[in-house]
Every structure is written in structure tokens, then in C-alpha cells.
Amino acid sequence: MKKKTTPLYTHRYAVRNLTCVRGDTTLFHDISFDSVGHTCLHITGSNGSGKSSLLKILAGLSSAHSGTLCWCDTQEAPCAHHVLYVGHELALNSALTPYDNIVFWAQARQCPSTPDVIRSALTAFDVAHLEAVPCALLSAGQKKRTSLAKLLIDEDAPLWLLDEPYANLDSQGQKTLQGIIENAQKKGAIIILARHENAPERALPCDQTVTL
């Protein structure tokens, strides 16, 4: 359970001329931006404009048609364990309880996975009382909250990629998430989130906007 404590403020993500092609259609073309620690970048665009695809490319999950990614001093996408990614697919197994889903994920990420840590993360998102209920029985919002609890387990990750983090979230949940994002920003993480033009995520801190 050792965790490397690299100083977070040095992180920098440079993206150059990214083009994404799916099938015959070009989703986006020549996207470039620089992002440094302590900042929050919003990716906006209409439905189907390639926001999720861009986040997946930034996470290193899929590759771009052309363009380069430079994480810090490297010429490639960040190491997998630097990336904290919460996508549209919530990655919760429906047979397992919220507690089990988070604890197994925390173990795989080699983050602290003691019951206290997991419970406090679930409590922050107000799903601790559901910790023994299989995820199949949870509502969409409760599932989203459980999935977002992962953010509190690996708070020190230097790159946060959030795909429409407010989807299905009520105002209380949005407030919690906003606090967590601001806190991570203070600690020096780079936060990149995807949202629609007029989505409530606009309320989140925004230092830079990229429109697809």
C-alpha cells in the first residue's frame, strides 16, 4: 500500500493537434491545449461532438487518429495510475454492493482501502446507508454518487478526467462534488471535465474552456 508522493504542482499536460476519427466521421479536428496543475479545464460541445472520446484519449484508454499527448516531460499519455477517470459508464458491478465495488477498486489502485476510508467516502456522497444493497437496486443518482466516491479514495491523483460529472446528480450531490473538485484543485491536480454548453457544471471552477 505504498504511495509515491510526487509534488503535484509540477504536472503539466500538453495536447497538440488532436484529431479523432470514428468510422468515416471526423469527430474533432486539430484540438490543442495546455493544462497545468491547480487548474480546471472544461470541454464543451453538443451531443455527439466527441467529448467522451476526447476524455478517453486523454486518459490513454484509446488512441487518437493523429496528434500528440505530452504528460509532464514525456511524449505520451500519463501513466495509467495517474489518471482518475469517471466516465459515463459507472463501472459498478450490479451484483456487488457499493462498498464492495469501491473497496475492490481501491485495492486495485493500491489506495488505502480500510473500512474507515471507504465508509467516509461513501458518507461524503450520502450513500453510506446503502453500502449493503446490491448496486442493481440503486437509483441512477445513487449509482452516480457511488461512482463519484472513487474521487475521494484517490484524491492525490494528478489528473482528474470527469465525463459530465453532474449527470443524474441532485443539488446536494452537486455541492459535495464541487467542494471535492475545488479541494483537489487546491492540492494541485489538473481537472478536465466534459459538459454541454449550458449544463449545470458551468458552476464549477473554470480556468479554461475548449469547445469541440
Binding site: K56, A59, G60, L61, S62, S63, C79, A80, H81, V83, Y85, G87, H88, E89, L90, A91, L92, N93, S94, A95, L96, D100, F104, W105, Q107, A108, R109, Q110, P134
Partner: protein, 231 residues
């Protein structure tokens, strides 16, 4: 790396146990193996002689089941993508899936196959070790083939039909050598060569496993990576 491997195994074990997959695969296998002798007139046929065919068909069909949910569910809900964002390479994830599929489906089936062989098909008692080794190696191979075909068809629409089309030719050597190395009769004076024949087949089967294990796991990893990047 080992930490991630163990975490994934523990998690998949928990999923399999809660889904009831353990009993469904096992009962499917027992159904196949027990229904055959019930449907065939036992007086007209030597049941022991056709038992290898029945056991291997049962093993082949049942080996296709566990990875469907283990891989497909995790792919659909984004877990595979998330698990790939850990310190462990994707090879570890593919190997963990392989291990869980074999442990939860094939391991119980080995004992079910031996028990049904002894009880239903009257295999000789002194062949128990030989037959156990044969089914052990054969099930490792069949699960490996199932892993590769499932990974290759992950995320493709209409991939279900392809799975069986691909696994048929891949499984043929296993079925042939596996059936040949099951010892179903006590050797008599007339066929003393039966021992050497089954032993040779078992050695060939083991060599097949040793030769294909690493390349197949590697190919499965490539297929997994491809599937995740196209999600």
C-alpha cells in the same frame, strides 16, 4: 502487480458467487453428462466407449459459459476500462479473468466429470489419476480458447455466432487428444497397448497447453486492449 491480480480475483470470485454462476455452469455440465445415458438404451451400447465424447462435449460447452459474464458485463459497465487504469498491465487482468473462469467453472467440473465417469460410465478405479490429469489439462485449454474468443468478440455486435465458429477449430486438437487420453476400460490381454496410447495422448495434450498458454494469453490481451480502445 500481484496486489492488483489478487484484488481482481477476489472481486470476480465475489461477483460469481453472488450471481450464482458457480452452480449454473456445474448443473449445466451435469445435465449434459447425465442426460446422454438416460436417452440411450444402455443394453445396446457400450456406455464406457462413448463416455469420452460425452464428457468432452459437456466440458467444451460448459467452458464457454463463465467468461460471457465475467468479460462482457465488465466491458459493458466500463469496469474493464477502469481496471486498465491501474499499475498492472492488461496482461494481468486477462490472466486474472482466465484464472477466475477456470477456478469457478472448470475446477468443480473436474470432480463432477470424474464422479459421473465412475458412477454412470463405470470407468476403472485405477484410471482415476490418468483421467483427472486429462480433464485438468483439457479444461485449462478449453478455458484458454474461450478466453481468446470472448476477448476477440468483445464489443462487436453479433459476435455471439462468431464465438462458436472460432472456438470449434481451435478446440479440435483438445477434443481429439483429450478423448484419446481418457482411460475408460481396464486393459485386458487383447488390448494391452491401451495404456501407452492414453499416456501418449496425455503428453501431447500437456505439450499443447504449454505451447499455447503464453501466446493465447498475449493474444487475448491484445484483443482486450483493442476492445477497450474502441468502446
Amino acid at each position: 502487480m500481484l496486489c492488483v491480480f489478487l484484488a481482481l480475483i477476489r472481486r470476480d470470485m465475489a461477483v460469481v458467487l453472488r450471481n450464482g454462476q458457480l452452480s449454473s455452469t456445474l448443473s449445466f455440465f451435469i445435465m449434459v453428462v447425465v442426460f446422454f445415458p438416460l436417452a440411450i438404451d444402455p443394453a445396446s451400447l457400450d456406455l464406457a466407449a462413448i463416455s469420452p465424447a460425452i464428457i468432452w462435449i459437456g466440458l467444451f460447452l460448459a467452458a464457454q459459459l463463465p467468461l460471457e459474464r465475467l468479460l462482457h458485463d465488465d466491458y459493458q459497465d466500463g469496469s474493464l476500462a477502469l481496471w486498465s487504469l491501474t499499475r498492472a498491465p492488461l496482461e494481468v487482468i486477462a490472466t486474472a479473468k482466465y484464472a477466475v473462469a477456470w477456478l469457478t467453472a472448470s475446477l468443480p467440473m473436474i470432480f463432477a466429470a470424474l464422479a459421473s465417469g465412475m458412477l454412470v460410465y463405470q470407468w476403472p478405479m485405477d484410471a482415476i489419476l490418468n483421467n483427472m490429469l486429462t480433464i485438468l489439462v483439457g479444461s485449462l485449454l478449453l478455458t484458454l480458447i474461450s478466453l481468446l474468443t470472448r476477448c476477440l468478440t468483445l464489443g462487436s455486435r453479433g459476435g455471439k455466432g462468431l464465438i462458436y465458429l472460432m472456438s470449434m477449430p481451435l478446440s479440435l486438437p483438445t477434443l481429439i487428444f483429450g478423448a484419446a487420453s481418457l482411460r475408460t476400460h481396464t486393459p485386458t490381454d487383447l488390448n494391452t497397448s491401451i495404456d501407452t496410447e492414453t499416456t501418449t495422448a496425455l503428453i501431447l495434450l500437456s505439450l499443447l497447453l504449454l505451447a499455447t498458454l503464453i501466446p493465447m494469453l498475449w493474444a487475448s490481451t491484445l484483443a482486450l486492449r483493442n476492445a477497450i480502445s474502441h468502446q
